[in-house]
Symmetry: C2
Amino acid sequence: MRATTIHGARDIRVEEVPEPRIKRPTDAIVKVAAGCICGSDLWPYRGENPIRPGATIGHECIGVVEEVGGEVSEVSVGDFVVVPFCHCDNTCAHCRHGAQSACVNLGVTTSGQAEYARVSQADGSLVATGGVPDDDLLASVLALTDVMPTGWHAAVSAGVAAGDTVVVVGDGAVGLCGVLAASVLGAERIVAMSRHTPRQELARAFGATHVVATRGEEGIAEVRELTDGVGADAVLECVGTGDAMTTAIGVARPGGGVGFVGVPHGVELPVRTLFEKNIGVRGGMAPVRRYLPELLALVQDRRIEPGRVFDLTLPLDEAPEGYRAMDERRAIKVMLRP
Amino acid sequence: MRATTIHGARDIRVEEVPEPRIKRPTDAIVKVAAGCICGSDLWPYRGENPIRPGATIGHECIGVVEEVGGEVSEVSVGDFVVVPFCHCDNTCAHCRHGAQSACVNLGVTTSGQAEYARVSQADGSLVATGGVPDDDLLASVLALTDVMPTGWHAAVSAGVAAGDTVVVVGDGAVGLCGVLAASVLGAERIVAMSRHTPRQELARAFGATHVVATRGEEGIAEVRELTDGVGADAVLECVGTGDAMTTAIGVARPGGGVGFVGVPHGVELPVRTLFEKNIGVRGGMAPVRRYLPELLALVQDRRIEPGRVFDLTLPLDEAPEGYRAMDERRAIKVMLRP
C-alpha cells in the first residue's frame, strides 16, 4: 500500500510499504477514507524526536473496517469508524476510570497517513458512525480521532466550568479545538492567545471572546489586564514548550487550573509558584475513547464543527507538501485523502 | 508579654517582647488561650529556612478578642475565636473564588506561641465559636487554625471523592488530619504511610483502613499491590520533600490526583511522568477561612476530633522542649498554654 514514511528531519516520503495485517484476534484493519497530519508529527519532522528511518507516520484516520480478528464483535467489516489515535480495551481498571490513554493494552495508530491502518483492541477503540458521514461532516469526524478530544481533554483537565474565564495558549488545531471545547463547556470569557489572523478568526468562530496577540511577559500582562488583575479560572496549554507553560501558569488566577496536552518538550513545572498560587496542573495524552460518544453526537447534531481546523486537503501522495505547509504555518491542519 | 522567639537553629526561647498593637483599623488583638507548634516551624528550627534572630514564631492560636480596630464589625471584644493562620479579607476576587490563602490583603499570625497575637483583616479572618469551647473540644478547635484545614485542603486538592482509594504520604499532624479528611469525604480505602506505631494507631482511629510502613520504591510497590496494581485515585502529599512527592506520584493511578500541602523543599515535579500518567497535581497553602465554618460545625457536632493530634501539652514557658519533642518525633503535635 502507499503510506507516508519518515526518513529523517524534513524527509517525508510517500512510498509502497507492506499492508498491515491482523496480528492478534483483537485487531482490525481499517481502509483509510481520510487521514491527517498532527502538530505532534512536526516534532520528529523537525528532528526533535528520535525516529526509525523508513517508519510509517500518522496516527489519525477514519475509514471503513476491512477485516477483523476472531475476537472482534463490536464492529463489523464495512462499518465506517472513527479510529482514536490511542487504542484501548475500554475494560481495564484504567479505562473504567476514564484514563483510556493509559490502558493496560494501549496501542496507537501507526499508519494513519496511508491506505490502511491496523487498530489493536478494535472492540474497545473503534466507534462506528452509522454509515459514511455526510460530506460536510467528514472533516469534523476526522477531527475526533485526536485533535478535538485533545482540546476537550485540555479543557476538562483545566477544570473548565460554566461561567469561567478561560485562556487558551497555542493556536494550533488543538488550541483551536480547546477554544471550542471551552465554549461548549459554558465558559463565559475565552481568551485565545494567537498572532495569526486566520487562526484568530477561527478562534473567534469557535467561541473566543478575546484575542491576545502578544506573548511572554507582555501577553501575561495583557491577559491580567483583561481579567482585572485576577487571572483566568482555567488555562489550556496546547503547545508543550516551556514558554507556553510559563505563560499558562502566569495567566492563571490563584486557585485556577492549567490543563496541558502538548507533549512536554523542555517544560519545567515551577512547584513553588504552583504552591504559592494554589494552581492545579493536570494533563497528558487524551483518553480519546472516553470522549468519543459525546463528541460524535455533538458533531452529528451539527452543534460543533471541529473540522474547520482543516484548511488544506491534499491527496496522500502530496503528504510532504502537507508537512511543509504545517511546519511553515501556512496551514493549520492538513487532511490527506488516499 | 511572653512569647516564643527563634534566635537560630535549635535556639528557641520564651522571653518578654512588646505586645502586639492595632496597626490598622481592620486589625484585632487576640488574647491567646492556646497556641501550638507546627511541622512547618521545624524548617526554621532545623536551620533550613532563613530566620530573623529574635523574631516571634508560631502561627496557630485560638483565644479571646481583646481589642478591635475601628473598622472591625463582625467580631467583638470578648468573643472566643479561631484564628486562621493566614488572614484574609474574605471579599477580594481570590477569596470569592475560594483562594483565601492568596488574598490581596493576605496576612499571617506571627505570635501564635505567645500571650497575644495580632490578626489583620479580623472581619474576614476570625470565626467566633459562640463561647469558650468545652474542655474536650479545645484541642480540636485549635487544630482548625491550620493543621486540620491543611489536611482537608490536601484531600480537596487531590480530588478525594466518595468510594475512592486514598493514600496519605506523611504521618505528621497534617497527614493524620488528611486521613481524617479523606474519611469524612467518603473514601473507601485509606492507606496511611507511616512507620511510627502511635501515628499508625491514630491514623487508624481517624479512618485509615491500611497502614504501609515501608518507604521509597518498596512503599510504592506495597501500595500498588494493595490496589491490585492500579494505584490510588487520590494521594495526599503532606511532607514537602522530593522523596514524599516521588512516592505520592508513584502510588497514584493514571488519571489520579495528588494534593500537596507540605511547603516544597527540594521538590521537582516530573512533568513527563505526570503527562504519561495523566496525574493531576494541585496544592498549596490552605485557604483556611474557606473551610472553617464547615469544619467548626463538624468539631462542635463531635463528628471529628482532629485535636487528637495533640499528644503533648506544655506551658508556654516550655516551648523549647515542645520543639525538641516534635523535632525528635517524640510528640506528634504540641499544644502550648500561656
